[in-house]
């Protein structure tokens, strides 16, 4: 690092452009005002995160419904009596439909570190917020008929990790 000491000195002699009087005035005005929403725009937006989990939940529910419909559709059709399916309940899964889980993938296609935020519950606690956007794909295959069923849906997860400054 000694090689750069002269350069560092020269850099320190460069003065950042000064703050305008207007900014001082604006700050004075902002700090003088009472703060009805001291955390707006800075803390993690809990409502938004809740929406994300809602979306994820709805997505999973929709995926489950699709799987159920698919299993019903590909199951052996009751040819004589429509009630046969009801009368011979078999365990849900490969026993009746012949579909076997063949693949489950989760691809993280974007990871964004959104920096430090304050905890919504403990306002003094610092958290690092990382947002993951993924695509999850589930696939079933019927080895007898060769039919396959695939469900794919996007998902977003927000991970908050506690941090501390030393």
């Amino acid at each position: 690092m000694n090689d750069f000491s002269e350069l560092e000195t020269e850099l320190r002699e460069l003065q950042p452009a000064p703050v305008s009087d207007e900014l001082f005035a604006r700050l004075e005005c902002a700090l003088a005002q009472s703060d009805p929403t001291p955390t707006a725009g800075f803390l993690p937006r809990t409502a938004q995160r809740r929406n994300i989990w809602w979306s994820l939940g709805l997505g999973l529910t929709a995926a489950s419904a699709l799987v159920f419909i698919g299993l019903t559709f590909f199951a052996e059709p009751p040819r004589t009596q429509p009630a046969v399916v009801q009368k011979t309940p078999a365990p849900f899964g490969p026993g009746t439909s012949g579909f076997l889980p063949s693949a489950l993938t989760q691809v993280v296609y974007r990871q964004r570190d959104e920096g430090l935020v304050f905890s919504p519950n403990q306002s003094e606690r610092l958290l690092r917020r990382v947002r993951y956007q993924t695509r999850e794909t589930m696939q079933w295959r019927n080895p007898q008929t060769g039919a396959s069923l695939r469900v794919s849906y996007p998902a977003e997860q927000v991970v908050l990790t506690p941090v501390s400054f030393q």
């Binding site: 850099l11 305008s20 800075f42 920096g115």
Partner: protein, 164 residues
Amino acid sequence: MESTLTDEDWKTCFAQLGPALLLFARRWTNSRADAEDIVQDAFVRFWRRQHSIENRALLYATVRSTALDRLRSDQRRARREAAVALDGAKHWEPQFTTLDEGQQMLAAAVERLPDEQQEVVVLKIWNDLTFAEIAQILAISPNTAASRYRYALSALKKAMQPYE
């Protein structure tokens, strides 16, 4: 936590830290006016929470978080600014009060550094933060922060050699 901060305290602190905060905020915007908005929002939030002004890493983390929030909330403008930056019109408003030709060359060389190196240099040189503090702010390891700093100084030294 300091709880007895007066009106004069913030003025003193901001007079001291404001220029470097603005310089740091310029990493995310080409406009000085936008940088001032970011610094204003961040400083107000920081000050209202009555954090110790000694905790400058937290102050800079607040500036960074505010800047990223603004970018996210105004994607269209961010894209437009990114396009302008790609056109080579980056930082058209001067970031330094330069005196002589040598300083102007050096300031221009700093502004030509890659963003990731530039922010480390800004935090280290004009804010006197440690590599550990810089690492906390930028979510990187202290070694990475130190490496980026060394690369930046090497690049600056190389850029300045023809003029020495």
